[in-house]
Amino acid sequence: MLIKRLLLNDRGGAIVLALIALMMIIVPISNLVLPTSSPLHLSTFTVTLLGKFLCYALLALSVDLIWGYCGILSLGQGAFFSLGGYAMGMYLMRQIGARGQYGNPELPDFMVFLNWDHLPWYWLGFDSFGFALLMVVLVPGLLAFVFGWLTFRSRVTGVYFSIITQALTYALMLAFFRNEMGFGGNNGLTDFKDIIGHPISADSTRIALFLCSGAALMIAYIVCRYIVTSRFGRIVISIRDAESRTRFCGYKVESYKLWIFVFSSVLAGIAGALYVPQVGIINPGEFSPLNSIELVVWVATGGRGTLFGAIVGAFTVNYGKTLFTSYSPETWLFALGALFVIVTLVLPKGLVGLFGRVKKSESAHEAIDNENLATPEIGAAKIAEEK
């Protein structure tokens, strides 16, 4: 009932969700049921690829929630994604048990050859799936809480916020690169065997992970949709449009920002946790500031402030990347670069904006908001006001 009400005013979202649901039905059938000889058979490669895209879409959704609706541009969202990924990776490492190269039941391989004699304390508990799941949510959430509490309280906004989130993910990247940290250094965590007792390379496990990612994305979408249409969401939007005015109206701007930031980083963490078992490796490269910037562009490409646009963007850009890196590797960066420029200059509303006023049925104020973002004068006035 609630879902129906939420999607009633969101036709784009409804379509995207329907497509995802369709994909979640077709893909397992075509991969598991159809024989490999059938032309409609989907290879495991495609399944993991689509699964990866779903995780990226979830990550993009988390960015759109804070950027599109709260005006917070985090260039460090990749950090929360990676932390979630590491938490899951640590669980998967512990599952290897004595099947590592050195057959050490207690320590992961990289610890054995660096002569660690016992498991560091922060690895304790990760042999339990439940604990790992808790950490997937808790670690990114907690970091976002502390970081957000410090920054929002001192009213760090706009580009300053973007730049220090970039510093955050950069610092984490450098730290995780260190072998002394006990997270496998540059090599990261890899060579996973099982997840909750199921071999990770089995087709059925891959399909299950794919389905989990799809379900997570759909649930996250609905929850995000619920948030932005709720009273809480309206205040968040008003913070985006006129932070000072909202504050003068008596709202505690900091706590609103903080909670939506924490929620978004938890989403990113979950995306990371689903991503790692599917791609089979997590390493500090994921913390790279460039990754975080790139994912902002997925959102911009799809169309920000629409939620479903983020999903469309994540799929389009990543599909393009897969195509280009296979068929014309040299031109990929040209294409990606041009996409950045064109989207910001010509398509401020992204791809979904291309198809006219999708928002006809959307609530009136949202349409105006997007107008704000699109036209420089009002945008500038808005920013001036923010300061």
């Binding site: 920054t151 450098l174 040209f334 420089p376 004068e377 920013i383």
Partner: protein, 544 residues
């Protein structure tokens, strides 16, 4: 072009073949096969050229023992890689700085064909031996610099009975103070091994205050191993006084390292301080503009391969113009549509940075390009044995400050600067009084980009010139600008130098990686405390 390549190619093979047949296969096997070894000068020189690497060591010894004046010339040439051999005419030649050859035996110029001359290869152990030999031969050289380095060399090698006698004799007549004190130290080091306790104490006293590392390590050894307690105690007190001085110099060294790192940060951040601070544009392609500057340096060096010494002087204005022009194009083509939307400029310029990077990769290949260091940029200024300052760092530090001052002057004293400040503070008002705001925007962005180009020239002297050059410095530059305070060049200066010094003082304790992480964390915490940086903009401009 082709012929050069072929001749190089040939040379390369012949050298290599020489090595393979002689060096590698024989270097361990053969020892002292005495097969009609020549003893006269010309015979020895010829054997030097034809023998194997380890035979060469023996031959050189014999040459030095001949006490022929020409031996010094030959050994010097061999050490510096200027001794050549023509296997067809069996001639040994010495190449001088201008590339002309003279016959090694007659020392007269070689007029015949020189294309067959191949360099006689030298390896490290031979080079070491040559240097020791040379130092003994050069002790009585007329040139003070040569004499000093000869003494220093002996000092490092340690004296033996013979050389101690020579040094003692020489030091009596030596007039140059530096050389004389080096000789005294060398002698004192020798006398530390004397059996007479008094002489040893005297030697320790002579070493007191010397900063030579050899003196320190010898004293450290004496202070623990000498059998006489008196000697040990004297050595301990002498060491203590040396250690105090060393600590002081090491502190100054860390300060210099910090300033030097700071100057690199300053150069890379100052262009950004203009585009970001003054114009409010987040230029993610800033790093690539530095990359353009660095590539410009390389191209200039390719065009004028014989003018490496002046190449930087040409490269600086050229890089400014090239990067500046690219900057103006970026501003006119992209950024002017995005004013007032800083987050969008971030994305668009990031796209541009990807395009520029890939373009560099397509044009110059992904390989790094070799930019040479001009003679005057290499080496270091030796202040004393524990403190020396490298020239390239020193010049870059001076250069960074120069650029900073120049920029301040432009902004404060010229009409362009006035307009830039006017537009950045209140665009509408500036336009109302007749400032062509869009023109000023383009020029300001061009100025910032041009300075990034200049920074690229400086970086080409320190690090790799490749497509990824800019990326490495981008985040650091942003941090500097934010730390210093946006829109304030003084903030950028203090921020860059401060971060540089903090980094260099943390590094010895935390290691390079952790130091950087700590600096970033400190920075994040600092921003919480002072969200607008160290020197926030005040007044109207800040309020907008």
């Amino acid at each position: 072009m082709m012929t050069i390549f072929i001749s190089r190619f040939l040379k390369h093979f012949i050298v290599a073949s020489l090595l393979i047949c002689t060096g590698v296969t024989n270097s361990f096997a053969q020892t002292e096969e005495v097969s009609a070894t020549p003893t006269d000068f010309s015979g020895l020189v010829l054997q030097l050229a034809t023998g194997s690497l380890s035979e060469r060591a023996e031959t050189v010894k014999k040459l030095a023992a001949l006490k022929d004046n020409r031996s010094t010339v030959i050994i010097t040439a061999l050490e510096q890689g200027n001794l050549y051999f023509d296997s067809i005419t069996n001639k040994v030649g010495i190449k001088d700085e201008s590339g002309n050859f003279s016959d090694a035996i007659t020392l007269s110029a070689v007029s015949s064909d020189i294309s067959n001359f191949k360099k006689i290869p030298v390896n490290n152990s031979l080079r070491n031996q040559l240097r020791s030999l040379l130092s003994q031969l050069n002790l009585s050289s007329e040139d003070e610099a040569i004499r000093l380095s000869a003494v220093k060399r002996l000092l490092a090698d340690g004296l033996d009975e013979d050389s101690a006698v020579i040094i003692e004799k020489q030091s009596a007549s030596e007039k140059n103070k530096t050389i004389k004190s080096a000789m005294t130290i060398a002698l004192a080091l020798y006398q530390l091994k004397n059996t007479d306790e008094k002489i040893r104490i005297k030697a320790v006293d002579q070493l007191r205050g010397s900063l030579e590392p050899e003196a320190r390590s010898a004293l450290t050894e004496t202070s623990t191993t000498d059998e006489s307690e008196a000697v040990r105690n004297t050595a301990i007190s002498a060491l203590k006084s040396i250690e105090n001085t060393v600590t002081y110099y090491r502190f100054s060294e860390s300060i210099f390292f910090g300033l030097s790192l700071g100057s690199v940060l300053l150069l890379s951040a100052i262009g950004l301080a203009i585009t970001f601070g003054v114009m409010g544009v987040i230029n993610m392609a800033h790093g690539e503009l530095m990359m353009i500057g660095a590539y410009t340096t390389w191209v200039i060096q390719q065009i004028f391969p014989n003018q490496i010494a002046y190449s930087l002087l040409i490269a600086i204005p050229t890089a400014f113009l090239v990067a500046g022009a690219v900057g103006v194009v970026i501003e006119r083509g992209v950024i002017r549509f995005l004013y007032g939307r800083p987050l969008e400029t971030l994305l668009a310029t990031f796209g541009l940075s990807l395009i520029l990077q890939q373009a560099a990769r397509s044009i110059f290949t992904p390989l790094n390009r070799a930019v040479s260091l001009p003679e005057w940029m290499s080496g270091s200024m030796v202040i004393n044995p524990v403190l020396s300052i490298t020239y390239n760092r020193l010049y870059i530090l001076i250069f960074g400050i120069l650029v900073f001052v120049l920029l301040q002057l432009i902004l404060k004293k010229t009409s362009l600067g006035l307009k830039v400040r006017a537009v950045s503070q209140n665009r509408t008002m500036a336009r109302a009084v007749g400032v062509r705001a869009s023109w000023v925007d383009a020029l300001t962005f061009g100025l910032g980009s041009g300075i990034a180009g200049i920074a690229g020239v400086a970086l080409s002297q320190l690090t790799n010139v490749g497509p990824n050059l800019g990326q490495a410095y981008l985040i650091d530059s942003f941090m500097v600008v934010v730390f210093g305070g946006v829109g304030n060049l003084w903030g950028t200066l203090v921020g860059a130098m401060g971060l540089g010094i903090i980094n260099k003082f943390l590094e010895p304790y935390a290691g390079a990686v952790l130091a950087k992480v700590l600096v970033l964390v400190l920075l994040i915490l600092f921003i919480q405390k002072k969200p607008k940086g160290m020197f926030p903009q005040k007044g109207r401009a800040a309020a907008d």
